[in-house]
Symmetry: C2
Subunit: 460 residues, 2 copies
Amino acid sequence: MALPDGFIIALEQVCEVRSGEAVAAMDPGVDAGNLGAGVVALPTSTGQVQSIIKLCSAHGVPVVTHGGRTGLAQAGVSAPGQLVVDMAGMNRVGAPDPTAGCIEVEAGATLHAVQEACKAVGRTPGIDLAARGSATIGGMISTNAGGMEAFRCGVMRHRVLGLEAVLPDGTVMSDLTRVTKVNEGLDIKHLLIGAEGRLGIVTRAMLKLEPLEQAAATALTGFASAADAVTAFHAMRSAGGLLRAEVMWRAYVDIVSQACGLPEVATACSGDVLVLFEVAGGSFEDAQGRLEASLERLTEDGILADAIIAQNVRQQQDFWRVREDSFAVESTWPNGLWYDVTVPLDQLDAYARELQDRVSGLPGECFLSVIGHLGDGNLHITICVPADATVSKKQADEAVFEGLKQMGGSISAEHGIGLEKMAALACHGDPGRLFAARLVARALDPLGLMNPGKVQALTS
Amino acid sequence: MALPDGFIIALEQVCEVRSGEAVAAMDPGVDAGNLGAGVVALPTSTGQVQSIIKLCSAHGVPVVTHGGRTGLAQAGVSAPGQLVVDMAGMNRVGAPDPTAGCIEVEAGATLHAVQEACKAVGRTPGIDLAARGSATIGGMISTNAGGMEAFRCGVMRHRVLGLEAVLPDGTVMSDLTRVTKVNEGLDIKHLLIGAEGRLGIVTRAMLKLEPLEQAAATALTGFASAADAVTAFHAMRSAGGLLRAEVMWRAYVDIVSQACGLPEVATACSGDVLVLFEVAGGSFEDAQGRLEASLERLTEDGILADAIIAQNVRQQQDFWRVREDSFAVESTWPNGLWYDVTVPLDQLDAYARELQDRVSGLPGECFLSVIGHLGDGNLHITICVPADATVSKKQADEAVFEGLKQMGGSISAEHGIGLEKMAALACHGDPGRLFAARLVARALDPLGLMNPGKVQALTS
């Protein structure tokens, strides 16, 4: 399918437009199909985004919006006949206000750029994830990103105080409040958060800031079971100052520590379930002291199997590198099937054991690699499939999703639905909610031009 | 207007229905017009609510949903020809799960009942307000209630993990997840939160819990200005353990301490702007020690004008009573005009001074009484109008709302819009957001039967 006559010419009057070789030279990001449309618009202002949407609406051209192209659910995949709107040119980061506790940023700014601006005034946006260098604020809002600090600072939805967006008909919604308490009728910004580009294009946001901790210490800890790890999490949380709690099952640590040349991390700590705890303090020594005291109590209570506190920045970085280089699992097991689920903490241990049993029952010598954000119960699961085995998506889905909704968990924790989980959402999502979502999407986007065919079908 | 023939008879097959004297005997709550419909349905299950909505839809009867009837924006006012759905009969409180950190409750449960259930397992729902004994969870969700803990635990929107509701066409949305991280397409529950009953009836919710602090100490502190109070808030927050920070301008303390027979509270502490700080600790003595250390630092830095730490539970209760008995201002100044706004903290001092100037310019000897939740910048303002003066709503609105939206604040912090602020919302709300809200409301409630005529007109 080609774009309509005259559309490109009109678009070039609005902003930079790339096609052909210029698009071929661009990095498609996580998914090879992201730039399949072959034509990319690069606006630098909200006014230009508005003009683009109006043109697309007039010519019936579907729009796929791109941030850092780090999305893991194929929400950014595009096809000929569609237009990619790349927000990289709208990347201004305003001055953070430490007194009001907020910062205004454009959608194309990377998380890392925002974090650095905030750090200069002793604040943090309260969200962090491994793709910080390329993930953009607009993309993180559209996918309601989560990450490592969600158990205490919430997910992206909870970090957004105000939002500016261009709606599917070209209307600009400019709702850039700088405060938490706003009760002014239907809160439309919460519809756009997590909508994966289906309800318009996010152009700017006002983010909430938190005080930046002065120093932190990290320990790699080992437990006999996920149940013990959860008990330890609650104890560490109650003791105060807990910043992060990242869980890694043994198989994951073995694979990644080998792949990134840090085998000493895997042998540093025994236990089937490992947790990286990061604790805040006024100084590194102070944080280390708090961490030591908490770990001693856990040992006395018979919960902790083993632990090692990072003695210097280098060791701390090594521990975190093993946690963050999760793509090493994908490289080592290229036929692996990835999942991103949430399990309520009272069910985590049982779910992990039952999942293990179900995966053992799959064809071939499949096994599990699991990491997660312990405080949220958010697990990133890979079913590692040997080259000589064949496991269908359906078999894997059944193994991973069984019981999740019934226990109040989620089949999609933080990556979103995109194309990847549409079938799973249709199967497991609450029918009442999906019905309402269709009504809402059709009302705001009657032409169905915003990232069509993703997340949810507009007809039942 | 009478209800259609056959409607009441059909309704009586579904649930208890009150009319006539039985309704006259009910407490209308904050607003005398709440029970104006004269007919009240009292469902005890989600199925009954669904049947009621289907009946109303079939007979074209508008629905006004009631919780504790403590709303302050007239969202619960009803008229003949409408049906009040009173959720008091759906007040079951599930067992709180301290490990998963959640509790399932029915919409008619009071906040106090939920707080007590959570306290038994060392948890709290992370939200508190003076009307806790009568305000219901459903009402708090529908008005996105705020209160005293929002600067650290968020508003009601941030406490809701999952939601069950009956939509305007009778569809039940049952989205009772028990976890924070759920990314499964458009998040419809966030549309219902704060919708003031315009998009359906909230029937059940899954609330997020926080660890309950073991003990707390309170200090009444005095400052020369709001700017100093904000500086102190940030210092107390960074020191850790700050639970509450409630600001009261001098005139408020004078009126209320007199009215409730506690004049010693007004004279206990000097300063134009008073703040009640509550700090957590492992024991009362521990909390007191932390509070003392923080106040000493503020004194050394020349920020604190005066302070008194409550020495016992009785004194602590007296301080809080003066803060919570805010209706004493209304009783003392019955012609007063009330407002509920949010001011970004970097603007709080300037806004308070300029508001003072604008109120001084009103006809007669008007003066201000102001309290607020300091951490959020949420101010509850009364323009006290002497009996011999006449101040129009328009004059008062202009004095209070001037500049608020431009500085990123809000004309409606936590009470909602209801009937009271419809004109103000139409005037100050972002047109793009209001446009989208109309599309969404018409899509979900095409017959316009859910709390019609409140919040926002569905036609522009």
